[in-house]
């Protein structure tokens, strides 16, 4: 009640997107490789962008496990100002709408980034990536700070969607919300030296969880952009069938030859 769903064409006409962190900051040709038919994606989601530059995490790397892998990178990026300097022209000329993924830490930072992006050519939406430790109150503050002229997608970690979806819905009361997307859940693994590393989880093993959450939240009244463990056409078709408005593809895109029609 009171929720306004932003009717964005790029979600309605083509229900496949890339997930943030999978294809860089702009839909450029990668080293001369044209692996993706951009017209098959509804929009391009950028790598996570923070207000200030972020250095790589000290313990960055990956740890594989049966069913997937843990990735810890610290989301290094040059910061919004440098991203705009490097990629604004590519966004303006992009063959598909750009969704800027913003790393949310403080409401005033989110507010500053969203206002700066309003009016940037090619940017058709914002995806707000919440910090892993955020609670419901913090979620409401960050979402409210991100509401503006651009359609807003709020990305919740897959393992916390149940807990935080209601807070997103409340925060967007009376304002347009394009959807809730699912980000990678977090986990921990031991390194060969015995130290524990925490990070984001990716891989086919997540898919049953993604499917269950999507089906369970379909009645929430918020468009769901499902993601997590999607590697085959049958999987995203299943997510759409149980109520997802769109599906984000993550590490399957790193194969470089992914064709959404397959």
């Amino acid at each position: 009640v009171g929720l306004i769903v932003a009717k964005v064409d790029w979600l309605l006409t083509q229900p496949l997107l890339n997930a943030a962190g999978m294809l860089g900051f702009a839909p450029e040709k990668q080293g001369g490789l044209p692996p993706l038919d951009w017209a098959r994606l509804g929009a391009f989601v950028t790598n996570p962008i923070s207000l200030q530059p972020r250095a790589p995490a000290a313990q960055r790397g990956i740890l594989a496990y049966p069913g997937g892998f843990l990735l810890h990178s610290g989301y290094p990026n040059p910061g919004l100002k440098a991203v705009l300097r490097q990629y604004a022209a590519a966004w303006a000329a992009a063959p598909l709408p750009i969704v800027a993924h913003l790393l949310a830490r403080q409401p005033h930072e989110v507010d500053a980034m969203v206002r700066r992006l309003e009016g940037v050519a090619g940017v058709a939406g914002i995806e707000l990536g919440l910090p892993p430790e955020v609670d419901a109150a913090g979620t409401r503050l960050l979402v409210q700070a991100a509401l503006g002229e651009l359609p807003l997608i709020v990305r919740l970690p897959l393992d916390r969607v149940w807990e935080l979806a209601a807070a997103v819905r409340e925060a967007a009361f009376g304002a347009p919300l394009a959807g809730i997307s699912f980000g990678p859940p977090r986990g921990a693994l031991a390194t060969p030296s015995g130290a524990f590393v925490t990070g984001r989880l990716y891989g086919p093993g997540l898919f049953p969880q993604t499917l269950a959450i999507t089906g369970g939240l379909a009645s929430l009244g918020v468009p769901l952009i499902a993601a997590g463990g999607v590697y085959q056409r049958e999987q995203w078709e299943a997510l759409l069938a149980v109520g997802a408005s769109a599906v984000q593809l993550d590490t399957v895109l790193w194969r470089g030859d992914f064709a959404p029609s397959e």
Partner: protein, 237 residues
């Protein structure tokens, strides 16, 4: 960079020790693939098993040329077997560029097989350069023109070389000054390049940052800016 298919025409397993029973890290393979996919020395080629949905690729590096493909250097998964079909993407990134003027070439493998440096041997010999290989552990068969030394001898022989090609894991970058006999903060005393061994999960497509190395006051992505970087890139501060 292209995408294509290949397959494993031969797989060699060498046990790391007579008692260990382990073959991890000592697998090499003859990869049959189109010529345009063969990586140059130091470049990577991403490989996935065709019948698998495993999310992570195995990066392949050139060890030696082979008919209709190439020998991929270890380490490779010990589960790979002859006849397996591969999906390939590459070649990726920047490889070694042996300077045409190099006449005394040093190759050094740090905590790794020297296999990924072997393609430089033919290139160096073709330009009449003298060659020295610094490595520990088992060695492949080498041309007689190549002198071999343990890795510990690298520092005392560095003044002899006019080009150094290193292969080292990212985790050991802070220890390279000690290995090269340099004082902290000293730049490398010669021209050279370093192949940085590290995980590259997105292999250039995502700029995911997992393979980042600090380079002076900024960072570089091994998958995009490397895997071979200049020795003078400020990689150890």
């Amino acid at each position: 960079m292209r995408v294509g298919d290949g397959w494993l025409a031969e797989v060699r397993l060498e046990r790391s020790g007579p008692e260990s029973g382990s073959v991890s890290g000592s697998v090499s393979a003859w990869v049959r693939c189109p010529a345009e996919l063969i990586p140059a020395p130091g470049q990577a080629l991403a490989a996935w098993l065709e019948a698998d949905t495993a999310p992570l690729a195995t990066p392949l590096f050139l060890q030696t040329a082979a008919p209709e493909g190439f020998w991929a250097a270890p380490p490779l998964p010990s589960t790979w077997s002859v006849g397996t079909s591969l999906r390939l993407r590459g070649p990726l990134g920047n490889g070694f560029q042996l300077p045409p003027t190099a006449r005394r070439v040093a190759l050094a493998a740090v905590d790794a097989s020297p296999a990924r440096l072997l393609p430089l041997i033919a290139a160096a010999l073709a330009q009449d350069a003298a060659l020295a290989l610094f490595a520990d552990g088992p060695l492949p068969e080498l041309p007689t023109a190549v002198e071999f030394f343990p890795l510990a001898a690298l520092a005392e022989n560095l003044a002899w070389a006019d080009y150094l090609a290193l292969d080292a894991p990212r985790a050991l970058l802070p220890r390279l000054p000690e290995l090269l006999g340099l004082a902290p903060g000293d730049p490398p005393p010669l021209d050279g390049q370093i192949l940085i061994a590290t995980e590259m999960p997105c292999l250039g497509l995502g700029a995911c940052g997992a393979c980042a190395v600090t380079s002076g006051r900024r960072y570089r992505l091994v998958c995009r800016d490397g895997p071979v970087l200049p020795l003078h890139a400020g990689l150890w501060g």
